[in-house]
């Protein structure tokens, strides 16, 4: 079932995504120049997450891929989150 009805991402969309990514980069720089401790790290990582999501959805056009592929990608991030969580728990409760 090789159907060749692939989605073509318009040039316009790609340009808009780039502009958002660039703006978010400068927002990150501004935010991290204000010293808010742990909050700064959280904010920087959240923005990086949003940027990552945009790259995956539009540049890597996951938005228009099959449900299977999107679930697989999501599962990889869930797996990574679990690895991080388990490692942090191990680190926090180690004597």
């Amino acid at each position: 079932m090789s159907e060749n009805t692939h989605h073509i991402t318009p040039y316009r969309t790609l340009g808009i995504i780039l502009l958002i990514l660039l703006s978010l980069t400068f927002v990150t720089i501004e935010i991290t120049s204000i010293h808010l401790g742990a909050l700064t790290v959280t904010a920087a990582l959240l923005i990086a997450g949003v940027k990552g999501f945009l790259v995956l959805s539009y540049f890597m056009h996951l938005k228009h891929e099959s449900l299977l592929l999107r679930i697989l990608v999501a599962l990889v991030f869930v797996l990574f989150a679990l690895i991080v969580l388990i490692t942090f728990i191990d680190y926090a409760y180690r004597t």
Partner: protein, 205 residues
């Protein structure tokens, strides 16, 4: 797709090719993910050392390289759209632009690393032995992570150049573009990793 009259055509499975590329990308994500995890744990263990060390990095160079990679990620995406729209000339120019930006990234990296070596800030240097363990770990991770990332840039450039030649030879066309698509996916991966590397190494201090 396949018809009975035309037996000369080569069997192709675009979906499988794409899935294969994504499976490879998953391993790459977990490879860098593991390194991010190592970085986070040591950062919690040596917060002061990591803070002082990260101040040694040039934010200007980091920002420049971030902008370069973001633009290059768009240019390679434009190249794919152009191929799908039969505009091979634009596609080739966009690939060349992407490669040029990648080279600019590497030149920046060369100066950045050069400055670190000049100041004796590299694993195993005399200065490093006098500094605390956290500094050693920070720069070890800095060189390993940015080095591994730079290696991916070089591989990405090779893949993009192969795509360029394939467009030139007519082997990548608007109905047969998986090679370019996968090369582009690889290039976006390089961008994706940098999106997380940049704030962690350069900004959060």
């Amino acid at each position: 797709m396949s018809n009975h009259e035309n037996h000369t055509h080569v069997h192709r499975d675009d979906e499988a090719q794409k899935l294969g590329m994504w499976l490879f990308i998953f391993t790459e994500l977990l490879l860098f993910g593991g390194l991010f995890l190592v970085y986070s744990i040591f950062r919690m263990q040596y917060p002061e050392n990591f803070h002082e060390s990260s101040l040694e990095l040039s934010v200007t160079l980091g920002v420049t390289n971030t902008v370069i990679l973001l633009v290059s990620s768009m240019s390679v995406a434009i190249s794919l759209t152009a191929v799908q729209k039969n505009n091979y000339k634009l596609a080739k120019w966009m690939l060349l632009l992407t490669v040029a930006l990648a080279l600019a990234f590497m030149v920046n990296k060369y100066f950045e690393w050069g400055a670190k070596f000049h100041h004796g800030l590299y694993p195993g240097s005399e200065l490093m032995h006098l500094l605390d363990r956290g500094h050693h770990l920070y720069f070890g991770l800095y060189f390993f992570m940015t080095g591994l990332h730079a290696l991916h840039i070089i591989i990405g450039v090779i893949l993009l150049l192969i795509s360029y030649v394939k467009i030139q030879k007519g082997k990548i066309q608007s109905d047969n573009f998986m090679h370019l698509e996968n090369a582009a996916l690889y290039w976006h991966l390089v961008d994706l990793i940098w999106i997380f590397l940049f704030p962690l190494l350069y900004l959060i201090s």
